[in-house]
């Protein structure tokens, strides 16, 4: 996936606002990315499936095929990372987006610096793993196997379809299973940003991860919330 040269990551923007695409291209080019933009859902999906891109920036409101449908179709064949641009304040859009497999979301209008930071965070996570032994980490706890090299997580032998954020969250929680991890730390380690008050995105990622993991056979939750502190992967 993606070129080894970090500075030349190829980004696909699917947004019907042509002027915005131009501006974002200009900004991100200076930041060291290579950009291509498409203005409708259908051709966006085609490009995403056939082009050699490292990440997609996907708007929700698109002509011909909306962002959710593009993402759904894309996820059937590809794990290409996707950042969704959602309408600010619309919780449904965020929840739906994350549920059908977006790696992150950014409410529109967004701060381009934030966009660049998130792009880098996701790209760093999904970068191909070198042969370095550290990266070949394997976790096997409580019926869940996580392989950092292949970026595949399974639960009781069934592969979990996790986004990159969820994969990282699970890895972090498992690595310190039985210990409380503070929200601030999780946010910095996984989302690579400081936890700000009233920001609920971490909670949303955790909630999606919970849904995908399901409960244990006895019905108990695997990931518990420790109110106003953080989260813990419970061990029996």
């Amino acid at each position: 996936m993606g070129s080894l040269d970090f500075c030349m990551n190829k980004i696909l923007i699917i947004d019907d606002d042509e002027e915005l695409c131009e501006l974002v291209s200009e900004y991100l080019t200076v930041e060291g990315f290579t950009i291509e933009s498409v203005n409708d859902g259908e051709s966006g999906l085609e490009k995403a499936l056939n082009g050699d891109f490292d990440i997609v920036i996907l708007d929700v409101m698109l002509p011909k095929m909306n962002g959710f449908d593009v993402l759904r179709n894309l996820r059937e064949e590809s794990k290409l990372p996707v950042i969704m641009l959602t309408a600010r304040g619309d919780d449904m859009e965020r929840i739906v987006g994350l549920e059908i497999g977006a790696d992150d979301y950014l409410p529109k209008p967004f701060n381009p610096r934030e966009l660049a930071a998130r792009l880098r965070a996701i790209l760093r996570r999904t970068e191909p793993i070198s042969d370095d032994a550290d990266f070949g980490e394997r976790l096997d706890i409580d019926g869940i196997q996580v392989s950092a090299a292949s970026r595949i997580a399974t639960c009781d032998g069934v592969e979990l379809n996790l986004t990159s954020v969820e994969f990282e969250l699970l890895s972090e929680l498992l690595r310190e299973a039985g210990k409380i991890i503070r929200k601030e730390d999780l946010s910095e380690r996984v989302l690579e940003r400081k936890l700000s008050p009233f920001d609920r995105s971490l909670d949303m990622h955790i909630s999606n991860l919970r849904k995908k993991l399901g409960t244990r056979a006895d019905g108990s939750e695997r990931i518990k919330t420790i109110r106003s502190v953080g989260y813990i992967y419970t061990v029996l």
């Binding site: 915005l20 900004y27 309408a87 304040g89 209008p109 610096r113 009233f198 109110r227 106003s228």
Partner: protein, 456 residues
């Protein structure tokens, strides 16, 4: 008193009164003459029959009299008949009752017609004189029609009246229902409309009625239709405008960052200023959109059990974090365990708006106190600040969109006057109440919600 009861009772009372009056008038004018008429009629017939009997007796003797009397006695209503001479000897006819003999004596005394009413019989006796001045008495006993007993007559009348009044009652009930039920339906629809259910319609429930009520219902529907289209188009307009405003804002944000990439130290402060203003604009649009959404459909929110204490602690912790920057503190003094049904997002935003508002206005280095109490099936959340409160007369306006207390417009508090409006909409979407009072040199906002019982 409901319209139904009024119509029902008034009509019933009116009909009962009319019945009573008619009955009384009837009794005093018609009942008596009827008996008298009947007596007159009987008197005449007795007079004629006694004359004939006398003539036949004088012409044909006892045998002819007996034939004549037998003929009269053959009538079903006649139970006895007799013809007596001056000495009281029966010359012809059938057997006569004891009362008959008494009456004969009376008639002989008065030399005229005498009547006597027995429970089942009416007796009439007439004394007559032939040209030779011999005295005779003619007597007839007639069976009365079944109900002629005086007591029976009266009970019967009362039963009749009772039946009439009951029937009248039934009719009045139906009438009152007929008038009041369409009003009830109209009222229900009006209430639904007032509660914000713009889809409330009523004409369908009137079936095939074609009267003024049905016309009123149809007019109501036309009105509701119009209101619905006006309000939805207004809401859509607000939503569309806010939405459209975001596109240029998004482009501006990117352009701003590009400018930053190319700027020097001198222009940085102004670029920061543009950034701040664009963020404010964005925040404002978000809130208008949220308010528009809250005002449009109040019913289609997710309903989930929410641990209110946890939610309050959560939001308070965030608000405290934000408040610390200005040396202010948010303190949760009590948080009773209680749960409510509703949308977590909406309630979170209601509490968040109230708390942030308090943090914004409370004086530096003061405490915003948060308390959650569960009393009698209600959860009472109180948030009090130390910001000097607001003038009493402005308290009621606090929840109006874009309303800000007088001098605040010039203050650098950064509010736009939507926070409390959003909180109010969100709370009333949960059938709760939100009130503002001045308390101890500050403003106290109180939110009351219905709690649900713990299942476990």
């Amino acid at each position: 008193m409901s319209l139904f009861l009024k119509i029902f009772l008034w009509f019933w009372l009116a009909i009962a009164l009319i019945l009573a009056v008619v009955t009384v008038v009837n009794w005093s004018t018609q009942t008596e003459p009827l008996t008298r008429q009947w007596q007159n009629f009987m008197g005449e017939s007795v007079g004629m029959n006694s004359q004939t009997a006398l003539q036949i007796y004088e012409a044909e003797g006892v045998a002819g009299l007996q034939t004549y009397l037998n003929r009269l006695a053959s009538s079903e209503r006649v139970s006895g008949i007799g013809f007596f001479d001056g000495n009281g000897k029966q010359l012809g006819g059938t057997e006569i009752s004891r009362e008959g003999f008494d009456l004969i004596a009376e008639a002989r005394q008065s030399r005229n017609v005498e009547f006597k009413r027995l429970p089942e019989l009416t007796l009439a006796a007439k004394a007559i004189t032939d040209p030779a001045n011999a005295n005779f008495v003619y007597i007839i006993q007639v069976r009365r029609p079944a109900q002629t007993s005086l007591l029976g007559e009266i009970t019967n009348r009362w039963l009749q009246i009772l039946a009439l009044i009951l029937t009248a009652g039934l009719v009045c009930y139906a009438l009152a229902r007929y008038f009041s039920s369409p009003l009830g339906k109209l009222r229900e629809a009006t209430q639904n409309l007032a509660r914000g259910d713009l889809k409330a319609r009523v004409a369908d429930r009137f079936g095939r009625r074609r009267d003024e009520f049905a016309l009123l219902a149809r007019d109501f529907d036309v009105m509701a239709e119009r209101i619905e289209s006006l309000i939805t188009s207004q809401q859509r307009l607000t939503q569309d405008i806010s939405h459209e405003l975001r596109s240029p804002l998004a482009r501006m944000n990117v352009a701003l960052e590009i400018a930053r990439q190319k700027s020097n130290a001198e222009t940085q402060p102004m670029l920061n200023r543009i950034d701040t203003e664009s963020n404010r604009l964005n925040e404002m649009i978000s809130r208008i959109l949220m308010l528009a959404k809250l005002e449009s459909g109040a019913d289609d929110y997710e309903q989930r059990r929410i641990d209110l204490a946890e939610l309050v602690r959560d939001v308070a912790a965030d608000a405290d974090f934000e408040a610390k920057a200005n040396g202010k503190v948010v303190e949760v003094s009590s948080a009773d365990k209680c749960s409510v049904m509703g949308s977590e997002n909406l309630l979170r935003s209601a509490i968040e708006n109230v708390l942030r508002n308090a943090v914004r206005y409370t004086a530096d280095r003061t405490v915003v106190d948060v308390s959650l109490e569960a009393v009698n099936g209600h959860a009472i959340l109180k948030v009090s600040d130390h910001g000097g409160g607001v003038p009493e007369e402005e308290l009621v306006n606090l929840f109006r969109p874009f309303y800000r207390v007088g001098e605040d417009r010039t203050r650098k508090t950064g509010g736009i006057g939507l926070g409390l409006a959003i909180a109010e909409r969100a709370v009333s979407a949960h059938k709760g109440t939100i009130t503002a009072t001045n308390y101890n040199g500050g403003l106290k906002i109180e939110i009351a919600l219905d709690t649900i019982k713990k299942v476990d």
